[in-house]
Subunit: 172 residues, 4 copies
DNA sequence: TTTT
DNA sequence: TTTT
């Protein structure tokens, strides 16, 4: 049935990249999407929308987006539930991104005192990461994001750590 | 910023209509949206997506949709949080419907043993409830839904009951 | 870049199914989408939006939709141009449907004097035709639509006729 | 009925601003939206999608966007027809933008040899122009776009010129 | 050239 | 008649 979401917003934090035991990449990030209108107090609020993305686009997200990046998402609303450690059922609504568009200018965060230039990447001029139909991103992947590799205290904190989810849980 | 959701699905229950202390109508309902693909087990799953709608369209939803109705929603993803009675912060992601389209044929649930015909309503042939820009739906509203009026044990259970929310919390 | 269209409307005519010389199915149809608002004269107008769909979903559209059918489309806006027989360049804007959802109740047009029951098809309860990533619909295809097979004067008028387009023109 | 389009792309030219005889602003522009995929020749193509926007957002578009600007559009697909000077009926499909989001960084085109800084405007950090429900933009409007006022050969070429359309033709 |  |  029809289920389509399109968002443009900014990442509230660096994306988190994980791998399933079978080596499939998954990235999580939250988009802050400013509302078009102001509330009674005249303040502009934002919605903080959790997004998931799988496989190659997950790795692209981890490599090319970071806290504050402007990004567009085209995907679906998905719901799931799990039991937390207090034994309560928790219901989750999130956006499964099918494609993510990178909306920062290519020289964003460049200049100034020292580094920060985004790595060389070009897929034509689209700057869009689409879910590939076939190639599964098996195995450990080299994170090419200099930000993450060079400047974090622990650059591997969230990278390559298998997470407790089987491929049977994959949504496709 | 861009924030758009379009859904087509079926109501999992009758919609719940409430009024703010100032008499503004709000309806809540959940859409079951079947996924286009099947999971590893070959089963077709569904997403259960909570929706809110305000003012006149809220009353239309309460009057013309019920459990099982096929409906289309055009709206925005919104997030909010509140503290539950265990003192934990709960985060909610839901769809704020700006317009709701009624997709059942006009004679749905008609015929057979006794009633169930939908009340006479026609806004051209669109069958779509749009958020009015101005007219605020103050005061008690006559629920014209025969289903709700005639067959529920307590037809007013969820109708017209002011809820603990001030107009300051209204999103527009 | 982000390019997403979602429509719900009714077919203005039976869809037209063609095949490229390489045997790839293409269907064209026009959706009449009623506007949510009325014009100055108080009339509700409609937009007549041309849609194209490729491969397996094209055949599903031809088999299961007909003039007047209610359908949902999830796709992209595409533009192209060609030179007409007067030697003028003609610009075309149309919707490339990636998935088409069949919104008629399963027994639509059934009953009454004589046939018309839709053929048995079930993909769960989704009734949605998605573009398959791989299987190319080569070769002549058996049209299972009883309407088209049994009641048209020339049931093959628009079926299986190769059209003058090479696979190089395919959008994917 | 559901009719929703979301686009992100770049203006192919400066927008054209007109006024109806009643003083209602209308802007036209074309978005070049790069496709996510490449064609058989490995080239990335684009769709060139004509957009219209009315009233205040029309003036914002004229003031803040120009050739090459990156913009997001949330709107509807509309169709209309007219008879051209050869007496042929011409069918037009375009996007009626309900809101337009300005996606350039605020200092875009700044620096370098000579001017080009965007005028001071701020609606929070949203940079989004929404169709106001009420205020009609009557009368001649001061175009505040320095680009258009200062650097064009004929800065008023397309501004403030009443066009031959009555308010009865307005879509809302 | 338009659908219910 | 097309944008980066």
């Amino acid at each position: 049935m029809l289920n389509r979401v399109i968002l443009v917003g900014r990442l509230t934090k660096d994306p988190e990249l994980r791998y399933t035991p079978n080596g499939v990449a998954v990235a999580n990030f939250t988009l802050a999407v400013n509302r078009a209108f102001t509330n009674q107090q005249g303040e502009r609020e934002a919605d903080f929308i959790n997004c998931v993305v799988w496989r190659k686009p997950a790795e692209n997200v981890a490599n090319f987006l970071k806290k504050g990046s402007l990004a567009g998402v085209d995907g679906r609303v998905q719901t799931r539930s799990y039991d937390n450690n207090q034994g309560q059922r928790v219901y989750v609504t999130e956006v499964m991104a099918e494609s993510v568009q990178f909306l920062e200018p290519k020289n964003a965060n460049a200049g100034g005192g020292g580094g920060g230039q985004y790595p060389q990447y070009q897929q034509g001029q689209g700057n869009q990461f689409n879910a590939p139909s076939t190639d599964r991103g098996y195995g450990q992947q080299q994170n090419q994001n200099p930000k993450r590799n060079n400047f974090n205290e622990d650059p591997f904190a969230n990278d390559g750590t298998p997470i407790d989810i089987s491929d049977d849980d994959l949504p496709f």
